[in-house]
Symmetry: C2
Subunit: 519 residues, 2 copies
């Protein structure tokens, strides 16, 4: 939900600590590897190599002509282009369109056709006039892309445009080319791991961003999964710490953690709140402490974590079942029509359990016991009111909706465990309720649920099916949205604004290593 | 004609002299006077005032909303805009379109509809993304405009765009607000004079530009008329001297002066040559000397002037009639289908006469006599071969075309004089041949021809009819093209690329003072 009337609370000490953990971005210079032609072939984009990238200055573009540069893989960074003219003296401004594309399909899409509900401003397309050539243009904006199309919208009848050089300064708080130990002979798994690591690295900027193409903000739902993948790879504890302090230092006046935080022009918490996202402060802190052992941070941020549980607990009635939620009150997944009640109940239990652990670690034994009881009480209520014994499924909302999200989160919350949980997930797999999963974010939780009940083989197969499907579809980084049955699906009205390097999709690097430890 | 194979000759000494005459541009800061709404009403654009310009920061723009700023009159300069947002934190880039318009109609035109033959790059329209608000944007390009439309192509559902400030730094080598003595009680004549002076001033930049919106180059045809208006107003001899040295210092290897010169990134002569334009070096030098008395410049540049006559003389056959010309070999006017032969013959005679005067001033009496004979010989040939005694008109080309341009230039060349010339112009006025005049440039010559045969009253009436028509049509500066019978006429395929502050249209400031001196 959006709270435009909210009052904001800033903890200056926390912000200062966040500031001290600010990363120094690494940059590396890249040139286009190839010049390609991208055309549509049925539903997919076909790429044909025209020449080596070093041939770039040999091309000249007249009105309506274009060049598509392929930088070889997905990067986040700043572009400098050197332009010149050939023919008669330049008797009119060069008028160019630049299109930056994470995936080839974006080159084919026409931004004029976009009529979706999120801002068309996210489409990575620039229109540029150059009055005087030669000119070196250092574009001020950051782009996330692999392909760059340069179209001469107009030159004049007397001269043509030459792109003498294209240079990308790729930036990240991590090294996108880094390789971390992961032992497998399986080519697809190796590729999935590599793509995961690049996805994570390209989202590691001034904060853990959700998507370097679109949003470019610190969302706590994404942060939670990025941190898990980061612990298995880059182990950049400082960047997680920075993000924890930003969320704790920028809250609503009642202490509630927002769904996301802006870092420019100033640090400011957004006015969007999700039931699950605020609560996720607890497991992010829990995971961080378990990985880093950083007790000072735990001690300092524990009150903020506790406060999220307190605030969430107010959403429960006398039956210990959370109130029914509007679609926008709790996130869980982008799936349209998904009822959030059961999922919210489960997320709460999941977070309270981790809160209890933290309380115990901190020596607050009363608090720990209270939270343990709280979790059990809510779990019992879930079984009493949200479990349909006949169907053997959790139901959600007044329409008793059966969804993947509800079952998965109830397993993760350990409302059902072991054999029962395994059977539930098997039933889910057999019955495939229509209310499925659309984001890699929700699919991650499905795999975690499988792992939690010992279904490592199924988890591995599912990773190969789901994330492997993106790799086989040519992904250099994992996409914000992927529905194996409808690749064009977008909650925004068009895939042209989808993000194709998205934080919440980077978790195979974590999941695969978790499975590796089990085997 | 275009000579892409040309070899260029640079006279470094001349360029250095031109460089020393480089003007220091004056700048003055302007704010929008009004916020207006421009709508179409039949063929014309209707302007409604919405509020005072100072109300600007009170507006906020959501997706698809726009503001149109009216700076009160035509300016040439650089724009700085301060943007901010209202509502929730800015969760998407602001995506704006800026449209700069010299006349209200340009705000209504859609650049997407332009399919003319000159570059669409001239359309003063920018597309800008702003990732972080507030932002102060100093646009790097120079614009020529009175109206600036700011359209929010997209914001997001959560915030709107505010334009906190719009600032224009107007530039000119002269003072566009300057007023020069001109005694009349006639409101329309006063307005015509004021608009002329502003047109001239706004074209006086680093050189005498032809149009600050489009072309922005030093064309010798425009220079000739600008210099005349300048002598009656700003009297900036140095800027004329600079332009003369640029043309003389940047020629083809045979010494031929080009039709125009580029000043950025380097001084370079274009590969376009017109028979009349190369010859105009002679009268520009003549007028400059007569006004300034600068003998050093005359001496130094006389060889260049003489060379233009020599080269042009090679285009004549044994009959002393200039060869027939392709449309692009000689300019005269933009009128489609205009045959150039008779006009070219007359321009040659006109220029040779001035060359003879210069030779005499320089004491080259043999040369002067030779040139005087040359002019008479060519004038005689014109009467013999290009005069149709039955029709009482000059004809041009194998189709014996009768045009305004041919008659006007024959009068200016004094091939016919006094009563005969007066009768010729009267016949022209009665018969109104279909091959008329489309540019203020050609109309200027028509008025000069009237003045040359003592038709001051007619000249004055014509100025009121022609340039007055633009003033009554709302002109702040005079337009590149104006056909009283077809205001939308454009040689470029659409009025959207027409220039509405154009050097060759600024001459009433000269013509009116010439008439004033006579009365």
């Amino acid at each position: 939900m959006v709270d435009q009337e909210m009052k904001r609370l800033v903890n200056a000490g926390f912000i200062e600590k966040a500031q001290r953990c600010r990363p120094r971005l690494k940059s590396s210079v890249k040139a286009p590897l190839r010049i390609v032609a991208i055309s549509s072939k049925g539903d997919t984009a076909e790429i044909q190599e025209k020449s080596d990238g070093r041939m770039l200055p040999r091309y000249s573009l007249g009105k309506g002509e274009s060049l598509c540069l392929d930088f070889g893989t997905h990067y986040v960074g700043y572009v400098t282009l050197k332009f010149n003219s050939v023919g008669s003296p330049q008797d009119a401004p060069a008028f160019l369109r630049l299109k930056f594309a994470e995936v080839p399909g974006e080159i084919l899409d026409d931004s004029g056709d976009y009529h979706g509900w999120i801002s068309r401003g996210w489409i990575q397309e620039e229109f540029i006039h150059l009055d005087v050539l030669p000119a070196e243009v250092r574009l001020p904006r950051r782009y996330a892309f692999r392909y760059l199309e340069i179209l001469a919208l107009d030159t004049s009848k007397k001269w043509k445009l030459v792109v003498e050089e294209a240079k990308l300064s790729a930036v990240s708080a991590a090294d996108p080319e880094a390789v971390f130990p992961f032992h497998t002979q399986d080519k697809l798994l190796k590729d999935i791991d590599r793509v995961s690591v690049r996805t994570l690295a390209n989202c590691m900027q001034d904060v853990f961003e959700d998507g370097p193409k679109r949003d470019r903000r610190l969302w706590i739902g994404d942060l939670r999964l990025q941190a898990l993948a980061n612990y298995e790879t880059f182990r950049d504890y400082k960047l997680v710490k920075r993000c924890l302090y930003l969320f704790a230092g920028l809250t609503r006046d009642d202490g509630r953690v927002g769904a996301c935080v802006f870092t420019e022009p100033d640090y400011i918490v957004d006015d969007t709140f999700f039931f699950d996202y605020s609560l996720f402060f607890v497991p992010v802190l829990y995971d961080y402490y378990m990985e880093s052992g950083d007790e000072d941070t735990l001690k300092e941020l524990w009150p903020c974590a506790k406060r999220q549980i307190e605030l969430a607990s107010q959403e429960f009635g006398t039956t210990h079942v959370v109130r029914e939620m509007e679609a926008n009150d709790c996130f869980l997944d982008w799936k349209a029509g998904l009822d959030k009640q059961a999922g919210a109940q489960a997320v709460y239990i999941y977070c309270v359990r981790r809160g209890a652990c933290l309380a115990r670690i901190l020596g607050c034994t009363d608090e720990a016991s209270r939270l343990e009881r709280e979790a059990e009480e809510k779990a019992a209520a879930a079984m009493k009111y949200l479990w349909d014994g006949t169907k053997g499924m959790f139901i959600s909302g007044r329409d008793r909706q059966i969804s993947y999200a509800s079952q998965v989160w109830m397993v993760l919350a350990e409302v059902v465990k072991g054999k029962e949980a395994r059977e539930l997930l098997n039933r889910l797999d057999e019955e495939k309720p229509e209310m499925g999963m659309v984001t890699p974010y929700m699919n991650h939780h499905y795999v975690e649920a499988l792992l939690l009940c010992g279904e490592e083989k199924k988890a591995l197969d599912y990773i190969k099916y789901y994330w492997g499907g993106m790799v086989e579809g040519g992904a250099d980084t994992f996409w914000e949205l992927y529905n194996p049955e409808n690749r064009e699906e977008s909650p925004y009205g068009s895939r042209i604004v989808n993000s194709y390097c998205h934080a919440w999709s980077c978790t195979p690097a974590f999941l695969l290593r978790k499975i590796e430890k089990i085997f």
